[in-house]
Symmetry: D2
């Protein structure tokens, strides 16, 4: 089964939300206190998805606000360098800083992130900075859940969704839940359900859908029963090493399996999954193949040091699908 | 034409939002600098609508947060005294104060309000304080636009709307636009359109609908064309002394005319209009009659000193409809 | 013993700090919930002291920030009307409101105040709005402790004190402690001791001196022992109905007794005390007489409805001293 | 001429203020956009001074608040490792982060810093966390001006100064002016003059003294004329490559000259100067020698990559004094 997109659009995908800096421990397999150097990469879920998509060959654009400093300029230059249209990236004029993520890799199983997200530039994107003429040029608007965490970014994204729907642009909602940015899970649930109800495709882990429902141990059947009463017609629910499920409103269900790999760290799995899954879907591959692309891409990225720089090519993904073993649970 | 409500509900109407204090100039027809005493009344649009509805005979409830002080207690006692169920009014525990409105009446044409709305208790109503079991007991959830102006009241109201829709409760959205509470008109437009699209009935002045559309000099035809693509099936647009229009999704249009009266001040016209219009609608009168009730009630309140205390009885409204002249424009 | 002032100054006293609105229950001897009308007066400790002093005949000025609205204009007009120089009162341009105090008089023994002090204009007086050329024209700079509670008013007052000391202007510090404006008593103690150490005269209740010392049940002997190591040479400590003590650095101690009166409410006692005490001191009366003036003025004000409007004349004070009984404890 | 300290104290110096993280460009002589790795050091003026002093042999302690995360733990471990008593370093419990300084070294003449100082842990040190029993154990309390920039750190430092003065501990004020933390130069001037007037020794650049005086192009003669009316009896004013001047209240003036060196970057000059100057002063060397120690230490640090790790030993300083040429201007 294939998923249909409007074909007369200039961009395949426009992502909206944060573009930040990852500072990854150069010396790893130790506590961060003992790490003395850090390597700089572009980071942030929607930026990573745009980078991953662009490296796979999609025509990608980005809407976001970046700091007026060396980190902000590095982000714009890097994203432009991998082929992303950065003409709708806005430079902050009020002194806000770039979000930072220091990553600690004690072992493949013990990874953590030390976040700097206080008053960061990306959360200051304003509704007036979101442009209807830009959004309507794309097949897809990719919305990252974290961009809903604070005003005015929240209103900028709600406006972008409204404009996408008025202009025949598919809204794809990557739940991307990061607790540190939100005031309460009640607040998250309010905006996650509001946006999910208006989206065409919703992607997240089982835990993230639980956050959307303000519930614990939710069942996929209840989730799709709820969402299919509203706009969504495709819902992807990820269950870690147990693989992922894609549910179509038409009634079909597809399962994707995870691939065995040498894990270095767990960061970046979700973003690489989303970029390859969307690449396949938008390129006209069927949903079952798209699930394989997502899993394969995630396997590759978790075996490497960065999240953005490590985004694979189509060739790497296809080779892994051809050769790697899947994980049976 | 009549508008249908779910009949097996205990409450006719539950209003959500602010309940405040009006301090009306006891000595009027002068600048406030020369007013030396002020008379205290309950105020705030949704509180006034609940009071007006209850005095007309509807079974009304209220969801809102009040200060833990003498003003907060006065509000709860007064509202309970006129027959409103106050069991879902929550007492603030963080020291927030009651909103205040000092009214200045220089002349019937020159009225102004000096507002105290900084960090007021009503805007701190939290989503966790909104209860599904309460909302589902009502035919109508009345939402006031001002309650959307700030978090967490904004999320509390968005949650209440979600719960109303899940439980067959009609959502009636009174735009009630107060510029001083909002950061920007862009922000207002985002939430007003989001909520209007999800409501069953939308009521406001032409100017307020322009705010919702982030536009100037909007046309009623465009407004209803937009809203009828979504949930609303009844839209009431008020044009001051030129009267008001009710548009039904079925295609019918109804016009109500304003009544001549001896104006003392302009405050309270909208709230008294809404309470009498809703009373008539919920009581099973046809839309045309409901428009007359709204206009008549507004005429009575603008001729009196307060907004809440002055809310008329059915008898007063019907006598005015029977005897007063309408304004021809 | 007399206290010496610089005689070649144009103003007797310039007060710095808040000028607010009191809304006194018109119907009293009941809970405020049952009070339906409120009477408006100018209030706020330094404003009251300026008003009291001016009515007694001192040449008074005022430095403070007032709201750009009807309440702000009323305050300026009233203060100008009683003879105060208001040329250094600054109009707020950022939408801050006038502080409000609703007074509840349940009985002479049960008085309370419902304060509106959130983001009030007076606390936004900035250091750049404090003018050396103005301050140096006065014999006395009267500083109210509450003006130290928040930035930028805090820095404006610290700057004013610095300028006073450079220009031979006596700094009189009225502790005027209001807990609701401060973050912690630790913070209050830091600024109260900092300012007290730099002042010439310090006036407060025993409880207020305890706050300055961040201690409980402090002894007057310890307080003066501490303060006389720094700038102060006169310290007045009030003990309610037990009367007040004035301690001079030279070693002399004076005691003032309270007068019997028909108490209506307790508000305004401190401000009326300070204005009459300072009037007497600046007029060249000896300290013992000044203590009598303070007590007599307080006795008169607590028997009346307002704090500012009720400030007595010299004749009233002298008649009371001549005729009233003192309280023996 | 020697400067006298109380000899019966356990610590030579206790510094109060910020301890942060420097992230220095590993690849330098280029814009930061092109730097891909950063090396981590402890930073922040008072931390650097404590580290420098401790490495020179002084018994040093530190009062400050650190984040409850990997960066905070690294700071405490590093400082303890160089011999500093960290028993009064408080761990933040409210989620505040460690301040960061990314350094860019385009060339020895073009250095800049990208700061993360929003809501950082060090500025949340509270007055209740400053302990009289700790402070009184030291000869010197070293106060860094930046710690005065925000509440509650501001009040913590004001309290520490008050306690130092009550207990015979010399207060040394390093002006350490960083504009990004302050609201206005007016505000800085208020606190800088307040603290300078209460200090025993004041150290800063000519530009920093101009900030204290809220003036431009100030003269050293006016500065010392003003400060010697208050507590200070030693004032050190630095003029970059032109050297520095030490003014004693007794009337003597001393000049120190800068040493020629191979400059890598300009960061850390002030902190290394202060630590070696104070080491010499506290060790009983005369003021002239102390100026040489300061200049020599600064020369060494600006030729190396870090500010803290590069702090020299006494041997290195003495060798440089013996061999290096001074700069003649």
């Amino acid at each position: 089964m294939k998923y249909e997109f409007n074909t007369d659009k200039e961009f395949d995908i426009i992502a909206i939300g944060r573009a930040c800096i990852d500072l990854n421990a150069t010396e790893y397999n130790r506590p961060m206190e003992e790490t003395m150097t850090f390597t700089k990469y572009v980071g942030g879920s929607p930026a990573n998805i745009a980078i991953g998509s662009s490296k796979l060959g999609l025509r990608a654009g980005f809407i976001g606000k970046i700091a007026d400093d060396q980190h902000g300029r590095f982000i714009e230059q890097y994203m432009r360098g991998v082929g992303i249209d950065t003409s709708s990236m806005v430079i902050d004029t009020e002194g806000h800083k770039t979000g930072l993520a220091f990553t600690e890799i004690k072992s493949p199983e013990e990874c953590s992130i030390l976040m700097y997200r206080e008053d960061v530039a990306d959360l200051y994107l304003a509704p007036s900075e979101v442009n209807e003429n830009y959004i309507k040029r794309s097949k897809v608007l990719l919305v990252s859940g974290t961009a809903l965490a604070k005003s005015p970014s929240r209103e900028a994204v709600l406006k972008a969704i409204n404009l996408a729907k008025r202009n025949g642009v598919k809204v794809i909602f990557e739940l991307d839940y990061r607790p540190y940015t939100w005031k309460s899970t009640e607040e998250t649930a309010v905006y996650y359900s509001l946006v999910a109800e208006q989206s065409d495709v919703v992607i997240g882990t089982r835990d993230e859908f639980d956050v959307m429902e303000n519930a614990k141990d939710g069942m996929n059947a209840d989730t799709i029963n709820y969402l299919f009463k509203h706009s969504p017609d495709l819902v992807v629910i990820k269950h870690g090493v147990e693989g992922s499920y894609a549910y179509a409103k038409s009634g079909e269900t597809f399962r994707g399996q995870a691939y065995k790999t040498q894990v270095l760290k767990t960061f970046g799995a979700g973003d690489s999954y989303a970029s390859a899954f969307l690449y396949a879907l938008i390129s006209g591959k069927d949903i079952e193949t798209a699930l394989k692309y997502g899993s394969a891409s995630a396997s590759i990225v978790v075996s490497k040091h960065s999240s953005s720089e490590a985004m694979p090519t189509v060739k790497e993904i296809e080779e892994l699908i051809a050769s790697a073993e899947t994980i049976s649970v």
